[in-house]
């Protein structure tokens, strides 16, 4: 009876060993820059994988390319399991769609100069939700310790599959394609898109990639708070390492706020100067925060914004400037957490 209230039936010693192993694994992963790129079979996939590959430039970077296949939870197939059709396709020698998308991602990676197919590989498959393909993982590991993982995951819905994948191993960055729909907080209560759900609920930074002509530069926005400065510092390192010019930007709502905005940009510039990261230009604007960021940031490759320290549930109900920028921007947006 004493054990009934315990979390598990393992002895304290075993429990601590298991916990330690998990901690070690997570600590090892924490020493690496892990990028989760999500592909869905759309035209944006090329851009998603390309951006992820360009950020994964050194040997301490791991790239995980994920495709989530939703299971038929709503009985839409009328009682005959969709798995039967999938099984039929597999038996006829056809690849499931997700496999095709992941293979295509490999081609995009090789165009970007990463050729994982020449590295040793390991395959792991486990049954999930009764699907014939289940969860399949192919890991390519370079001799330098860098890994590229292709993962085909089955989940009740795509957004939850991506968020579950985060829980399996912490990631530094989730990269997603352009949202096909993005609703306001009230409408999202009833039905939110995949990108919206992931952006709002992900515990780590999220990059929403939009296709378009090749641009350059990180357009890093700051409001002068210490949280925002942290985001500036971390995003600037990413920009610097990937060789992108940095533009610092701040918006004041009124003309009276301009000095504060100028100070925020100046402080951010000083911070980066101390880190020996060059700043290409600084800009200050007066007006509506979201509109100004979206308008001026559209000339750059990536707009960098940060949540105002809001929790997941606050973001869910109140939204944030960052999520509004992700929604309305015409270029890619990095939401730093």
């Amino acid at each position: 009876m004493r054990n009934f209230f315990k979390r598990s039936q393992l002895s304290d010693r075993q429990e601590s060993a298991v916990r330690k192993t998990l901690q070690n694994l997570r600590a090892q992963r924490r020493n690496r820059f892990r990028i989760l790129a999500c592909v869905s079979g759309t035209e944006e996939d090329d851009f998603t994988v390309r951006y992820a590959a360009r950020f994964s430039i050194s040997n301490d970077c791991d790239l995980i390319i994920l495709h989530v296949r939703p299971i038929d939870q709503g009985l839409h197939s009328g009682g005959l399991q969709v798995r039967l059709a999938r099984q039929n396709m597999m038996e006829a020698g056809f690849e499931l769609p997700g496999v095709r998308y992941l293979k295509h991602a490999l081609q995009v990676l090789s165009q970007e100069g990463i050729d994982p197919e020449s590295w040793p590989r390991e395959t792991d498959n486990q049954d999930a939700w009764g699907d014939p393909a289940g969860d399949t993982k192919v890991e390519y590991k370079s001799p330098q310790g860098r890994s590229v993982v292709l993962k085909l995951k089955t989940a009740p819905d795509v957004a939850n599959g991506i968020l579950d994948q985060y829980e399996l191993g912490p990631y530094n960055l989730i990269v997603l394609g352009e949202p096909s729909r993005w609703r306001g907080e009230f409408k999202a209560f009833f039905d939110a898109g995949i990108v919206q759900q992931v952006t709002v609920l992900a515990p780590c930074s999220v990059l929403v990639v939009r296709k378009g002509p090749e641009k350059s530069g990180f357009f890093i926005c700051t409001d002068g708070t210490s949280r925002s400065m942290q985001a500036v510092r971390r995003a600037a390192v990413l920009a610097h390492v990937t060789g992108e010019p940095i533009t610092l930007f701040s918006v004041a709502n009124t003309e009276q706020g301009r000095p504060a905005a100028e100070e925020a940009v100046y402080n951010a510039g000083a911070l980066l100067k101390a880190m020996k990261i060059p700043v290409h230009e600084t800009k200050v604007a007066v007006g509506n925060t979201i509109e100004e960021i979206v308008e001026r940031g559209s000339l750059y490759k990536i707009i960098v914004v940060t949540d105002e320290g809001r929790s997941r549930f606050q973001r869910l109900f109140k939204g944030s400037t960052a999520t509004d920028v992700v929604r309305k921007a015409r270029t890619s947006v990095l939401d730093v957490r």
Binding site: I57, L75, Q81, V237, L238, I277
Partner: protein
Amino acid sequence: MTATQSTTAFSLARDSLQAHESSARLSRFRRRGYQRYRLVSSQVDLSLLWKRRWFIIAMVLGFLLMAAPTPSGLTHGGQIVLCMSIMATILFVSEAIPLPTVPLLIIVGQVVLLKVDPTRVAQSLMTDSVLFIMGSLMLAVAIVRQRLDKRIAWWIVSITGTNVYWISFGITVVCGVLAAFIGEHTVAAMMLPVGVTLISLTSNDPKKVHNLAAVILFSISYGCSIAGVATPSGGARNAIIISYWKDFFYDPADPASRRYLMDYLTWIYYAFPMFLLRLPIVAAILVFTFRPETTDMSRAISRLRTQVSMQGPMKVSEWTTVVIFLVTIIGWIMLSDTLGLGVIAIAGTVAFLVLGLVRWEDINSGVNWGVVLLYAASISLGVEMKATGAAEWVAASVLTGLNHIGAGSALGFNLIISLLTIGVSNTMTAGAAVAVLAPIVLKTAVVAHEDPISAGFITAISSAFGYLTPAAQPAFTIIYASGYLKGADFFKIGIRMMLLSIIVLLFLSSVYWPLLR
């Protein structure tokens, strides 16, 4: 310091974007000795409340409505049934909980809230219609497992030739005829590999043959979809409406009410023209909506010929499958009014199992048993709607509303039923839509002095008009799993098909069906 030196000084993992450290805050508690607090809090999943928000809303709303004063003319039991229907509808649409949980809740609600005798509830769950739905699903798995797809495809192309338009028409006709008898999902699952074979043999790059893929795959799915209403065995919705006609209107003491015992052949007289009239429409819409990148498929067909010839002549097991299939259809046509549709379907499945053509394990894993539960409980709830007078009360209210908006005429009444059913079936699975709506529609037809048979057919047939999304139809869901089509493709063709289907249905209900009475 040079740029290169400063670049190498940074480590992305250490200096750039960070992974969220969930245990950082909790470690403070741990240090303070709140280990148990940490264990409990780690097991409380607040996001589950968010995921289940619609369940909570449905429950709160349902119980508030149950506690509200009973409207005049409605019994308290009827009020509870209506509230249960509203709760079930919210759960069907929102999919807040796994759908098979909804029928389980309905069963519990009938006993606990409606105080219906548990034995009576259990009996109401297993009717011939439910047996038929279960049997036809098992039969579907058995047939799909025989892998007759390539032979059927070869038979189609040997008649149609190598032109993609004729092949598309041939596929629509053959899939339609098959789906009319064995259910749309069966044929879609069976023919999907053939469709993908034809596409992939034409080009390995799906982007280069997107329109061709759309024409071929939509031929399969629309062939299946338009035929699903042609015979009672085409889909669960048909069995549900047959069950309601019997439960609501058949009185053994009244010979005139025998027409409500719908037999297989009479259903075909009513509904098969719906399939025949829409065949050319599907062919035309496909051609005009998607212009294939190539019209000559001779390369793909010569490879298909090679694949079929490698399979050799038809095996005994394949011939046996064909024979069992034909005998089952003949049984449905000739013997359904004595043996019932369900028993014949079950007998067909037994034949497959006894002859070793399919393993029970395959059937067990291929059938989504939740669907059987769902339909069983929905029919049971529909019967309670009638028993408590709830259906009649709603029908009277609906009719008053219809008269207010000037839809009191037969055509207006049929149009409103059709639009209502399409609207509901676009938000939930078609069978559930029919199960929820049919009791109200049938009772409204009686109050409005319209024919319940026509009203039932309109409901069943309209529930198959949800063409707008990949999730709207079983055949669409299966075809979408191939990965060749986009969600937008379904809307592009679906909206045209939906409008034309409504026109054909109204034509039949106004001109043809009155001739059959």
